[in-house]
Amino acid sequence: MAILVDHDNKVLVQGITGHQGQYHTQAMLNFGTNVVGGVTPGKGGQEVHGKPVFNTMEEAVDATGANSTCVLVPRKFALGAVMDAVNAGIDLHVVITEHIPVHDVMRFVRAALDRGQRVIGPNCPGVASPGRGKIGILPDNIFKQGKVGVVSRSGTLTYEIVNSISEYGLGQSTCVGLGGDPVTGTSFIDAIAMFEEDPETKQMVLVGEIGGSAEEEAAAYVKEHIDKPVFAYIAGRSAPPGKTMGHAGAIVSGAKGDAASKIAALEAAGIAVAVWPVDIPRLILGEL
């Protein structure tokens, strides 16, 4: 087992004929993902890496039985694309696209949640379960199948931590990139709850950053509901208030959402917080 992505995901790529779509379709296939096709309006009937391209999500789901989608469309089309996937009955939407207006995100996340569907992202690297598959743009060579569940708001910083876990001889059950936007379809709490239920996952790593209160909420949840050990890293300890640090969600507003309060909340919940990203595997092994 793993969470979100396993052997039973049948994946469509929305925006499959674009440069990113083609590239990452191949990368997902290489990782063992069951990509069954893709959608680009007006390009139905073509093939990408031997996979059929459809004009609409409805046609694509009817023809392939897909249950998951990887959204790689430009942001202007993101709301429409996700709503099409919601209406086509997709279970898991992984939205990679960045800079989607937050009102659009609230609209499609609500539509998906109302139908019992899950959204990962937007502005995220996706989900990878080593040995099973990935939906998204995470690099292939950093993973190793194992027992650590990783959940994060960032991309490359997560790769660094995942890579250090692999280099240390540990591995990952699943790595979930939640996305760097203020509003995301899946929260730390959602992912942590799934990892707690997953028999393969033995430890969890939470990679947070400044802005919002998702880490504080996760800390309270861990204290109440989680038995497996949780470790954390928080980015943005040196970030000044009022500045958006790259991710739209990474902003300290007044005294709210700063790293110190997140670290304090995590530590109060018994979660060890690493000072250096690469300290995570040593924390897991009890070497620090």
Partner: protein
């Protein structure tokens, strides 16, 4: 994007939300002999202007000109006052608070209201705060509105105007892709009118492309930050002397934190993003060069792209652009050994770990050219 008060009030008026009569000036000479007594308000992109002396009253034209002269050019938390708003002073009976904000955790909009206007909404006690989350497509229910009126202590003649104003403010919120709209204080005058004495409006930066009707960004960013925005690069100027270029926002923040951990101080946050486009790398280094850091710390995690490819790109850019600061590089991922050698040969200081890179950057002296 933070919309300045005088611009936000123009938008309020378009939505039928009353604001005090007034006009914006950039010099005392523009002040007219009307609307007295007036309030003179500094227009800056930061809070706390009242405490900083940026809001003053004046009873006569002469007094207004004198006060305006004092406020114009004033520095408020690093922002120079270049514009002031002159407004008719209201006969205040009551001060309320009303706002809508994106609630990140709930993935909803939250309506906030309080009878204690004029103070920071964070410091209003819970039992005196109306706080109601709802889906973007919805609005306050009848019961929620009743509860809001109760908390605001409004009834009778104020009921209908307050409901209408709340609806208009929410229409503005949704139609302008706002992440925050706030009236603090919302004044009830002796004459019984509801007037937005202040106006705060923050528009989602990611939605600006579909709002050409909005005023341009003012004074929120430094000139270099403005240039970076035009180039599509996430770039923030900070107080320190070490410029950080990394790929990915989280990694860039973590690199700045690493500097702090070893006693260094980051001066620039520059997120290259997922690009290995040589033109974009060139733009990034030009921005960094113009920010004049003492040292540059380059931190790349090569995920999809091979590290040696990235290193060659950086070497070529540095060969073209003379950077008068030492460059410390930490590059991790596929073919990192080869990448390190390429960077060393190009005169960069190559480090293996982030910790080592942070230490080398903090100690580095001299220049790359």
């Amino acid at each position: 994007m933070n919309v300045m008060e005088y611009s936000a009030k123009e938008i309020f008026q378009q939505y039928g939300i009353p604001t005090p009569e007034g006009y914006m000036v950039t010099s005392p000479e523009e002040i007219q002999e009307v609307l007295f007594p007036v309030v003179v308000k500094a227009q800056v992109q930061t809070g706390g202007r009242g405490k900083a002396g940026g809001i003053k009253f004046a009873a006569t034209t002469e007094e207004a000109k004198q006060v305006a002269g004092e406020i114009l050019g004033m520095d408020i938390k690093g922002h120079t006052v270049r514009k002031i708003l002159i407004e008719r002073r209201l006969n205040v009976d009551k001060e309320l608070y009303l706002g809508f904000v994106v609630d990140r955790s709930a993935r909803k909009v939250r309506c906030l209201a309080s009878a204690e206007g004029g103070m920071d909404i964070e410091s209003v006690p819970k039992d005196k705060l109306f706080s109601y989350p709802f889906h973007l497509e919805d609005f306050l229910t009848t019961e929620a509105i009743t509860k809001m009126m109760d908390i605001l202590g409004l009834c009778g003649i104020h009921n209908d105007p307050m409901v209408a104003l709340t609806e208009r403010l929410y229409k503005l919120f949704t139609e302008s892709d706002a992440t925050l709209v706030e009236i603090n204080p919302l004044v009830i005058t002796h004459e019984g009118e509801l007037i937005a004495a202040d106006a705060k409006l923050v528009i989602d930066n990611d939605a600006l492309w579909r709002h050409t009707e909005l005023p341009p960004v003012e004074d929120e960013y430094t000139p270099l930050e403005q240039r970076a925005r035009a180039d599509g690069i996430a770039f923030v100027q900070l107080d320190g002397d070490i410029g950080v270029i990394a790929n990915g926002a989280g990694l860039t923040m973590a690199t700045l934190d690493a500097l702090r951990s070893v006693g260094g101080d980051g001066g620039v946050f520059l997120d290259l993003g997922g690009t290995d486009d040589p033109e974009q790398v060139k733009k990034a280094f030009r921005l960094m060069k113009d920010a004049k850091p003492r040292v540059i710390l380059l931190h790349i995690f090569g995920g999809i792209t091979k590290c040696d490819t990235v290193a060659i790109g950086i070497r070529d850019v540095l060969a073209e652009e003379c950077i008068p600061a030492p460059v410390v590089a930490r590059i991790k991922g596929r073919n990192e050994d080869l990448a390190r050698q390429i960077l060393k040969d190009a005169g960069l200081i190559a480090a293996k770990s982030l910790q080592e890179a942070a230490q080398l950057a903090t100690e580095a002296e001299g220049g790359a050219c």
